[in-house]
Amino acid sequence: METQFKILGILILMAPLVSAILSAMLGRPLLRSRTHWMVIIGVGLSFVCSLLMFGLLNPDVSSPVITIYDWIATGATQNLQTQFSVNFHIDSLTTVMLVTVTLVSLLVIIYSRDYMRHEHQPDRGYERFFAFLSLFVFSMCTLVLAGNFLLLYLGWEAVGLCSYLLIGFYYPKPEAAAAAKKAFLVNRVGDLGFGLGILLIYLRCGHLDYDYVFGPGLIQLKGYETAVALLLFCGAVGKSAQLPLHVWLPDAMEGPTPVSALIHAATMVTAGVYMVARCGAIFARSEPAMMVVATTGAVTAIFAATIALAQYDLKRILAYSTISQLGYMFLGLGVFAADAAVFHLFTHAFFKALLFLGAGSVMHAMGGIIDLRQLGGLRKFLPWTFVTFVIGSAALAGLPPFAGFYSKDLILVQAINTAPVLGWMAVATAVVTAFYTFRILFLAFCGPTRVPMEVRPHESGIWMLIPMFVLSLGALGAGFLFQHRFSEYLHLVQERFASLHHERFSHEFVAVMSTVLTALGIGMAFIFYIQRPNWADRTRVLAGPIYTLLQRKYYVDELYDLLFVRPLRYLGRICFGVDCYVVDGMIWLVTGIPRLIGWTLRTLQKGALQGYGLTMALGLGILLLFVWFTQP
């Protein structure tokens, strides 16, 4: 059993890594426009192995730990782990994540074959794109498979690197380069907390292996759970773009659309959710930490959803929607519904990737246009994209029987019953979500045809449509099929689930209520954007400052610039000034002392007779006085 898992784990990691290296090396000289095959095979193999692992794993027995090799030594001898190894921790959460990640990756890579076709020219980076994507799959699988915090950190940073490289894929565009840097740096801020959290775990437990930390180590962590949990959560906030570190994700849409679908919607950004779910044993022991997680999630959910109302960039709306949905997941984690959160992660991967691929299909058809004001009536030109987009929107809005409904519902029930205020915020978010989702659909696909003259929209090819169809199936059925099996399979830490669960609001009530509210949101969107298009404009004028506030994304970017970037830059200038004048000046001052002495001595003997005479007379005088006074 263990050897099987070992082989599968190594294959899952090595297949994409090898294909990344090979396509980077052979891509340009040999494969040219066929680079995608290398990566499809690699990631496909990884997907098959993930499925096998999923099939082989018995979720009821304790999870095996598989050590590959020893990595870093700490030189400690007693009570501490002396070395950190590269090891895998394989349980149900791992396999679920692996299957999700590799499946969506495979589909997105197949989709990219056509989407990135215009990058075929020698210097445009077709092979670079596929090499990076494959490297990303490797990194993400490392993150998920890791059996200790250090390897988790490696995967964590490596996915961040891939994200950096792929956001900056169109690097000649200054916005893309700036967005890439911003993503890396904002993540680094979160990672500071994450790293310190890991350090604190090591200080208390002396181990970084999950097996130890979540087992005997929990006693050693006593009294520090809140600190550790909050520090770890910093990392999750950065990676999963929650308040206040959400600013990088909308900008990350500068990357190619398949990247947005895969990395910035379906997989990488959910790493924070995965990590908190993984460390559930620590989080669950700290009431305040859970409160912080839940509050951050709920506030981010409504915050991002309201911003999405006032945006026109199709991909940015979807990005804010991702932030909002991730907020739901954290809310779920914070109210002890980790299984519901991971379930939502699972369904969200399908419908959000689907929506992004749909947006990509629109961009593909429209020659890169993505502003909702320039789109309209695309239903006629892109029938298949339209159908899949409707499915994706319904799933995002949470209409039964689409996938999003089941997972969101589970979170809402738990939230309303444990933390009512946050729960009702989440319900309100659901209305807003329905509204902005169908706003996109109505504006872009329905209504009168609004297409710039020079553009001739056309439906995408089969390579792009098939992945979208597969994802549509997921967005349709994943919720209904797995709603009951999921939490049984996962066995996440929910020790206090039962005690907290006094049902004020039944499952059925919440389901009906949220469906009605969602329908309300959709209806409003229908009225605003189909029936009475001028209402939308009128509301915009009426709302005035609020609308501007939303459109400018609550001025968070400006605020950060004012609070952090500029002061630090000024501080840097001051430091440099100090360096040039004060520190260096002091050094010259010190060297000035010998110079001063030299100068004084030199003036005494520059060859002028008067000077010598004067000195001689003075010397003689002093000598005489000395003799005079010392006479007995």
Partner: protein
């Protein structure tokens, strides 16, 4: 047993330098290739040294190996006169720490030579001879086990570099060379005073007529036996620190560094950042901490605060630089702060992290200076504002610049991370008794503040990458002298220079154990046990073990009574 191998590694470049200086009839490219040949030969010898070292006891149990001792100053037969009692010898030997740095020296020197092929056009014989002499001096420092020998090599590094900066440097080369020379010399004069006084003091505590030894292992022993009083240790520590801190450079004694770096030719910068700065940290590690352990412990917070100030200050200053080379130079100030911080955690994790950090910084910053040089050769400018979008015409340059940037900002999987991580670990672990070493003075808060430096490190490096590599292509206006090379991607020679460094970065990042395995025993015996005496390590060990020790002792007593 006498081993010649270290002597060969140290003096082979010197032989090469002499042979280059003597042959006047060679043409220019022959001189360069001859220098590279000698230096590569030394690299082979250094790798051979590694294999020899791994075959000795010292590789797994610590202590020095491959030693060679030849009496140098002082007659051995008479002990009556002062000169007769003086025992100064040519004593070389390596442990895991110095071997790592020796290997780094031997790797970076041929790279620095190969990097000069296109940049240096005048007075080649002198230039390459000086580079080779510099290599001898640097290898000598890392191998010396005699204090006077150490000091001689330590000071001798100044002379070749002074000329390299002063003759082949940029427009302000004279000033830079002068500043560099005076700064470091005035510091190390104090170090010399300290060395002499230390030796004198230890001698004065010995019975009359005993030898005055400069031998390092013997001094470790003597320092432990005599017990230098804390107040004296304090003064000696300051005197030692004066020389070493300037070299490191520790804030606020760093102002020579940016100027020297920007004015030095590429090879000079590579050697300066890659190896010469490590002489300072190596000095702290080899002399200050083991010989003056009490002062090191007491002054650890001071040193750590200075180091952290350097980390943050260097990073912030690097961020506002407009000259790429100056940016990398200030980044060194920031990085070496981590090195000092880890060292003064006085914990195994911190110390071994610090040694790895020395090697890592040598690799990644050395490579960054090489790349800055490559950009400069193409555009004759280093101003960040003047260039941009180079990734499109030069994908190889972009690849390597991003690679070494990532290595420098500590991406896990590359070398920088391992050192950084261990340094922070050691710092946070400092007040514990986990690993058998006595309690240090630093703590989690030090690590937390220093970690901010990691964010800032990413800020300025990525900012530089974004400006130089990405965005629309921006090049300085065409002038006749640089139209040939501009926007040409790296050539084979340049790639061949960078690939070995990149391989080393990956290797250390993925399998740091291979280095740590020989570094850790050396730290245990040569740094920690030298400072505590051979038994002190067990006194401070974990209380859990002492119980069982007591049990076994009492059993022994009982069995003795029975008989």
């Amino acid at each position: 047993m006498e081993h010649w191998i270290l002597t060969i590694v140290i003096f082979l470049p010197l032989v090469g330098a002499i042979s280059i200086l003597l042959r006047e009839d060679r043409n220019q490219s022959d001189i360069a290739w001859a220098a590279l040949g000698w230096s590569l030969l030394t690299l082979v010898a250094a790798i051979w040294t590694v294999f020899l070292f791994l075959g000795t006891d010292a590789a797994s149990h610590g202590g020095f190996a491959l030693e060679q001792t030849v009496s140098w100053i002082g007659k051995t037969d008479s002990t009556s006169s002062l000169l007769g009692r003086l025992k100064i010898s040519y004593h070389v030997g390596v442990d895991g720490i110095s071997l790592a740095l020796l290997l780094l020296t031997s790797l970076l020197s041929p790279i620095a030579i190969a990097a000069s092929f296109s940049g240096i056009r005048a007075r080649l014989r002198e230039y390459y001879a000086l580079l080779l002499i510099l290599q001898t001096a640097m290898s000598g420092v890392f191998c010396s086990l005699d204090l006077l020998l150490f000091y001689v090599f330590f000071e001798f590094t100044l002379i070749p570099l002074y000329f390299i900066i002063g003759i082949w440097g940029g427009p302000l080369r004279q000033k830079a060379a002068m500043k560099f020379f005076v700064y470091t010399l005035s510091g190390s004069v104090l170090t010399f005073t300290g060395i002499v006084y230390l030796v004198y003091y230890l001698h004065s505590r010995q019975p009359a007529g005993s030898v005055i030894t400069f031998d390092l292992p013997q001094l470790y022993q003597l320092a432990h036996e005599c017990g230098i009083p804390a107040s004296l240790q304090w003064w000696l520590f300051v005197a030692f620190a004066a020389g070493f801190a300037v070299k490191v450079p520790l804030f606020p004694l760093h102002t020579w560094l940016p100027l020297a770096h920007t004015e030095a030719p590429t090879a000079g910068s590579v050697i300066l950042a890659g190896i010469l700065l490590k002489l300072g940290t190596y000095g702290f590690l080899r002399l200050s901490i083991p010989l003056l352990s009490e002062a090191a412990r007491q002054l650890a917070p001071t040193m750590a605060v200075l180091a952290i100030m350097g980390i943050l200050y260097g990073a912030l200053t690097a961020w506002v630089q407009t000259d790429v080379k100056k940016l990398v130079a200030y980044s060194s100030v920031s990085h070496l702060g981590f090195c000092i911080l880890g060292m003064f955690s006085l914990k195994m994790a911190g110390l071994s992290g610090s040694v790895l950090y020395m090697v890592n910084h040598g690799l990644s910053t050395g490579a960054l200076f090489l790349m800055v040089g490559m950009i400069y050769e193409r555009y004759h400018t280093r101003q960040i504002d003047a260039i941009g979008g180079l990734a499109r015409p030069m994908p190889w340059l972009a690849f390597f610049l991003i690679f070494f940037t990532l290595s420098s900002i500590g991406l896990p999987g590359l070398n920088g991370f391992v050192g950084e991580f261990l340094v922070l670990f050691g710092t946070a672990l400092s007040p514990t008794t986990y690993d058998g070493f006595p309690v240090g003075q630093l703590g989690f808060s030090y690590a937390a503040v220093a970690a901010i430096g990691i964010i800032l490190g990413a800020v300025y490096m990525l900012w530089m990458c974004q400006r130089v590599l990405f965005g629309p292509l921006k090049e300085p206006p065409r002038t006749p002298d640089l139209s040939a090379t501009r926007s040409k991607d790296l050539n084979r020679r340049e790639i061949a220079i960078l690939v070995p460094i990149a391989m080393a970065c990956l290797w250390i990042g993925l399998v740091p154990r291979s280095l740590q395995n020989s570094i850790e025993p050396s730290i245990r015996t040569n740094i920690m046990q030298a400072s505590m005496g051979n038994s002190a390590g067990e006194d401070n060990s974990c209380p859990d073990l002492s119980d069982s020790d007591c049990d076994s002792i009492s059993i022994d007593l009982n069995s003795g009574a029975d008989q």
